[in-house]
Structure formats: structure tokens, C-alpha cells
Subunit: 279 residues, 2 copies
Amino acid sequence: MEFSRKLQGAWEASGADLCVGLDPVIERMPAAIAGGLRPVLAFNKHVVDIVGDLVCAFKPQFAHHAAVGAETDLADTITYIHERFPKVVVILDGKRGDIGSTAEMYAREAFDRYDADAVTVNPYMGDDAVLPFLQRPDKAALVLCRNSNPSSALVQMALVDGKPLYEMIARRAEESWNRLRNVMLVVGATYPDDLARVRAAAPSLPFLVPGIGEQGGSPRAVALAGRRKDGRGLVVSASRSVLYAGSEAQIRQAAEAIHRELAEAPSAAAPLPHASEVL
Amino acid sequence: MEFSRKLQGAWEASGADLCVGLDPVIERMPAAIAGGLRPVLAFNKHVVDIVGDLVCAFKPQFAHHAAVGAETDLADTITYIHERFPKVVVILDGKRGDIGSTAEMYAREAFDRYDADAVTVNPYMGDDAVLPFLQRPDKAALVLCRNSNPSSALVQMALVDGKPLYEMIARRAEESWNRLRNVMLVVGATYPDDLARVRAAAPSLPFLVPGIGEQGGSPRAVALAGRRKDGRGLVVSASRSVLYAGSEAQIRQAAEAIHRELAEAPSAAAPLPHASEVL
């Protein structure tokens, strides 16, 4: 299935634009899971079971698996999500950033070895770092654009033709990279004004928006600044504030609270230039 | 041992500033290795045995291992290098680019799980993406600065205070990030003029310089533009032109040819502002 169709289906099935990041940390897991067999896989499945019907996407984070040698757990987690919630998009958060044949190896890793639907990609090395991930209509690249941490301004606010670098990335993604409708942008929740500028530069693209929850971004502000006129266009990600909320009931409540805030949030009314091309 | 001392020792032991990248591709290996047990590990050891005395560093490339599930081979390759050539620096080329606790996980992956001496890091997310890799004096971060591929200019030539972004990264690395003398910059071989500008902005830092060999950069031009006055300061990396040169003798000859060119290349005579602080 084309990535753009899968994402549309995931939004419809989940009733909101919530994504839960899977950042397993053994020291923070419930003791019964941390002390058992394959704790990383067990914890991921535990969370997937509790919140899977509320999310349009899961975002397993690569380093949290690789640091402890849990590649097999990562692969098995993704298989589990596909089987249990086949409409949910799986985003491998690896922020890959290399070129040429090496970028092709990273695409092979994300899409073939791990069977992710999408992978986060770093554009510091230019088009060459992005295009190898865009060769398959059923697989997407999520390109870092404007991140949620303050020091990212060091690079992302550099100027291209008098405008911030992140706006150039957004325009290029919209106008040049998106031929197979499989490009998304990563835009942090902590700067709603910048999110609105990215939306203006890339009116049709879906955005992954991390930075709510522990980082302090507001779901309502994000929805207002970032949604398209059709009310879609966002995948809003929370990780630790859900994963480590406590008991099963508390994890569920944490995810439901964000889901409700997102479902009830009004969308901006900015008109879309190409409504027929909206995902 | 401090990273800066290990690097100095590696330059002295090898007699030049050659690095060989380990980019194993099963389809390009000799048939006897490709068809045997653990071909990725066997090929890496084969190359390490042939050229280990000629190099100051080996640079195993992460994706070439991860795409085929060869993490154990990557770890065992690094162990093998440490045992067989203990003075040689091992750079894990993963171009990690995340922040906070996730960046700490990537540091744990590179330095603890794989026992690399150094890891390549992408600065698109700012200081927060670099500093977590600089907490240990025996472990280094190699920060992407000015890359060898044309489209990297899209980002790296954006302007900060009227100068290219890559120069700001170089100055920041020299002046702010290098407190433990464990920062290097990644500067491609294909733009010697830009390499000279990075050297002017970061007079004391060592640089990793990929882009000779198949990408066409000249060892002599790189040495002239990039070396410090002490004749050191570079780690010049070749990968495919050595790895896939053919027979054992041909691999050895390919590495020796670059080693000789580098050993015979004159260095620039630009004075160093802080000669006492040179590594």
C-alpha cells in the first residue's frame, strides 16, 4: 500500500493524530518486565497492547534498542505492531544522515531488515542524504526540519536567501522531494510560530511533531499551528510521558488525555493551495 | 588513554595519516570469503590484516553492517583491531544525530557496546547533538562540517553572520566543544579551498577527510590545504578504492600508494596560533 494511503487510514482508524514513541529504558520499566526475559521486547509489547487503538503511529527509537544490543527485540516489536495493529504506521526513529550507497544501506536496514513504514532522516548532507530513502512509494522519509530543542537554532536558523534554513528544507520537501507522496517533515512542538511557518512553506506535507509531554509543547497549540485545513497533516508524538506514566491504567490514561486534547483541538483555517492533492 | 594521545601515537606508529574505511558489501567480496562463515567479519579481518600497519585509523561504517544484521561482526571486528593493532584509532562511522538522553544512548552504543574510540556525529540539531559524545576524554566525536558531496552545500553553505554555516561549526568546535581535546571535524577531500577555510577556523583540531579514492579527492591537495604546521592534523580516509582493489597484493598496493602520496605530500606552512596546544 502507498505510504500516503496507509497514513490516511491510520488517522481515520485511530480518530486522532497521536503517535507514541517507544524509547525502552530497562531502569525505568516495571520490575516484573525489567527482570524477565527479553525486557525490551516485553515492555514494547506491553505499551503497544495498552495504547495501540489510540495511535496513528508508533515510533520505535533506534538507539534505545542498539545501546543494549536489542536489534532482534526491535525487529520483533515492529512485526508485532504490524500483526496486532496493521493500520498503524511504524516510524523507525534513527535520524539517518549519509549519502549514496551508504544511505541505500540505511534504507535497506529500515525498510527491509526492520520492515518500518518510515524512517527519520537528517538533511545536513543535502539532497543526497534524503533521496535514497524516497525510492519506494510504500516507504517514507521523515526529514528533520525545525527541532524542538533550543540549540538546534544554531544550525536551523542559518539563512538561505534571507530566510531560515528550516524553511528552505520545508519548501524543498514540498516542491522537489515529494514526488511519490512519501515525505514528511519533523517539526518540534515547542515553537508553534515556527511550526506555522513550516506549514506555510509546505502546505500539503504531513509533519511528525515531537516535543509534547516531557518537553512541554501543547497539543492544542500544535494543532492550531500545524494542521492542514482538512484537519489532518500531523502525527504528534509523546514518548516518556506515556511510557513511564506508571501502571497499565496510568499509561492508558496518559495516552487518552493527549488523544482527547488532540481530538478536541480546533484546526487552523488557512486555505490549502492544492486541496485535491492533500493526502 | 586520552583520545588525543592515542591519535598522536597512531600517527607516529603508522608513519602517515591514512585511514581505511570498512564498508563490507557481500556482493563485492572475494567469492571464498562471501561464501564462507560470517563473511562480513571475515572480510573485515582480511582487510585489517593486509593494511593494519599502514593506517592510523580504521573507520567501520555502521549501515554496511546493520543492513545485513551483522552487529556482532561489527563488534568482533573492532575487538580484533584493538587486539591486533592496539595503537590504531577505531572510528565508528554512524553519523549519529540526536539529543539528550537519546544521544547518550548513541554514545553508549558506540563507546560501550562497540568499544569504538570515536564516532561520527551530525550537528543539525545543535550543541545538544554533540555534547553528549564529549563527556569522556578517551572517546571522541567527529562532527560533520563540510562534506564531499555537491548537494551538501544546500545546508552547509547557509549563512551565519554572513559566513558559511560550516565555518561556524568549525569555530564552535575549536572554541567551545573541545575542552577535553576529543573533537574532530569531518571535512571532505573534494573541496580543498573549503578545507583550507575550515583549517583557518579550527587551527588545532584534527580532521577526518573522506573523499579520496573513488570520490576523486587528491591526497596531495588535501595535505596542502588541511595539515597543521606540525605536519599532523589529518586522518585521510579511503574505503572502496582499497577494499575492492582485488587480490591481497592489490589491496596492499592500493593502500601503499595512498600512504606514500600522503607521506611525501608537503604540508601547508600556515603558522598555528596556539602551537603549545597542538595535539
